[in-house]
C-alpha cells in the first residue's frame, strides 16, 4: 500500500515551457507553486533534457516546496533521482525500467505510476506493482514527441473497463476535454502545457480543477 495521493489535477512539469520568472530552477519552482495554489493535487518532475545532477537539484527544490503542503512529488523515469531526493514516487513510460524492477528499488510505500497507451499495453505490463495509470495521449500534443497515437476519451474508457486502479488522462487536455475524460471514468487529468505554458499558472490550474469537479 503506497502513500495516499489524489490524481484530480496532476501537473507534469516542462521547464522548456515555463513562462513565469523565466527558465531554470526559479521559473520551475514559481510555476509549481502557482499551480498548487490554484489546486494541483500532485506534481511530476519531468525534464528529458536534464542530467542527473540538475534533476536531483530540481527534485529537492520541489520537495521542499511540496512536502509541507502534503502534495506528492513524482519523478519521471529516474528511480535513482527519486530515492536520492526522497521524492514520493516515480512515473514510468513503457520504455523505462520495468515496473517490477522499479518497485524493488522504491520499496512498498513509494507511489509508482505507469503510462499505458491502450488495452494491449495494459495487458502486457506488470500492473500488480503499480499504484496508478497515466492513460493517453488523449489528444495529440507537441510536448511529448515519442507518445503513441491519440486515443480520445473513449480510449480512457477502454482502459477504465479493465481495472479499478486510479487513472489519470493525459495528452492535450484543456477544460472541455478534461470534462470528457472524467466522464469517461478517469479519476483526474494530467496537464503539461495547459499549466506550464500559461501566463498565469494559478488561474489555469483553478479553471482545470473547476472543470474536473463539475464533471464528476
Amino acid at each position: 500500500m503506497s502513500r495516499p495521493f489524489d490524481l484530480t489535477l496532476y501537473l507534469v512539469t516542462d521547464p522548456r515551457l515555463v513562462q513565469i520568472h523565466g527558465e531554470g530552477l526559479r521559473g520551475l519552482v514559481a510555476t509549481v507553486e502557482a499551480a498548487v495554489k490554484g489546486g494541483a493535487t500532485i506534481v511530476q518532475l519531468r525534464d528529458p533534457d536534464a542530467h542527473g545532477r540538475a534533476l536531483v537539484e530540481q527534485a529537492r527544490a520541489l520537495k521542499a516546496l511540496l512536502a509541507p503542503l502534503a502534495i506528492p512529488l513524482i519523478i519521471n523515469d529516474r528511480v535513482d533521482v527519486a530515492v536520492a531526493a526522497d521524492a514520493d514516487g516515480v512515473h514510468l513510460g513503457q520504455d523505462d525500467m520495468a515496473p517490477a524492477d522499479a518497485r524493488a528499488l522504491l520499496g512498498p510505500e513509494r507511489i509508482l505510476g505507469l503510462s499505458v497507451g491502450n488495452p494491449a499495453e495494459f495487458a502486457s505490463s506488470d500492473i500488480g506493482v503499480v499504484d496508478y495509470l497515466g492513460v493517453g495521449p488523449v489528444k495529440a500534443t507537441g510536448t511529448k514527441k515519442d507518445a503513441g497515437a491519440a486515443i480520445g476519451a473513449s480510449g480512457v474508457a477502454a482502459v477504465r473497463a479493465l481495472t479499478r486502479l486510479p487513472i489519470v488522462g493525459i495528452g492535450g487536455i484543456d477544460g472541455a476535454l478534461a470534462a470528457e475524460v472524467i466522464r469517461a471514468g478517469a479519476d483526474g487529468v494530467a496537464v503539461v502545457s495547459a499549466i506550464c505554458a500559461a501566463p498565469d499558472p494559478e488561474h489555469a490550474a483553478r479553471a482545470l480543477l473547476s472543470a474536473v469537479t463539475a464533471a464528476r
Copy 2:
C-alpha cells in the same frame, strides 16, 4: 572499501560503433566477449540513446557474461540501472548525480568512478566517496560530444599528482598514446572506439594491453 577491480584495460561500450554481429544486444555482447578474451579487465556499459528498460536488459546480458569471469561491470550514469541489474558499480560524469548521492544509493561495496577533466574539477568533487577517477579527454574524440578540452598526458600527470586513487586515462587513446598515459602515472587506459569500432575487438584489446604492460 569496494570490490576489487583492475583498471589496466577499461572498455567503455558504444553500441553505435559495434562492428561485429551488427547493432543491438547481440553485437554488444559479442564485442564485449571478444574484448575480454583479448584482455579487457573492466567494462562500462554506456549507451546515451537507450531508455531504462533497454539499459537494464543490456546490463543483465553483460552481467551474465562477465560475472563468471570476475570482470566488473560498471554502468554509466544510471545508479538505478546498476542496482536493478546488480552491476558492480557506476561511473559518473560531472553533470550526473553527485558522487555522495550515488554512494548513498549504491552502498559501500559497489565501485564508484568519477570523470575528472582537470585539477579544478578534482578539487570541486566529492572525492572521498569515489573509488577511481576517469581522467580526460586525453585527446579530442568524436565519441563524446559534451567532453571538455583535451588535456594530453600532462593533464593526466597533473591529476595524478593530487591523489593516490586509481586513475584511468580516457579519450582518443590508441597504442602509442596508451604508453604515454601510463608513463604519466595512469593505472590503465579506457577506450571506446579503439575496441568497439575495431573489426576484430579481441585483437584490438590484445594490442592495447601489450602497449599498457610494456609501458609500465
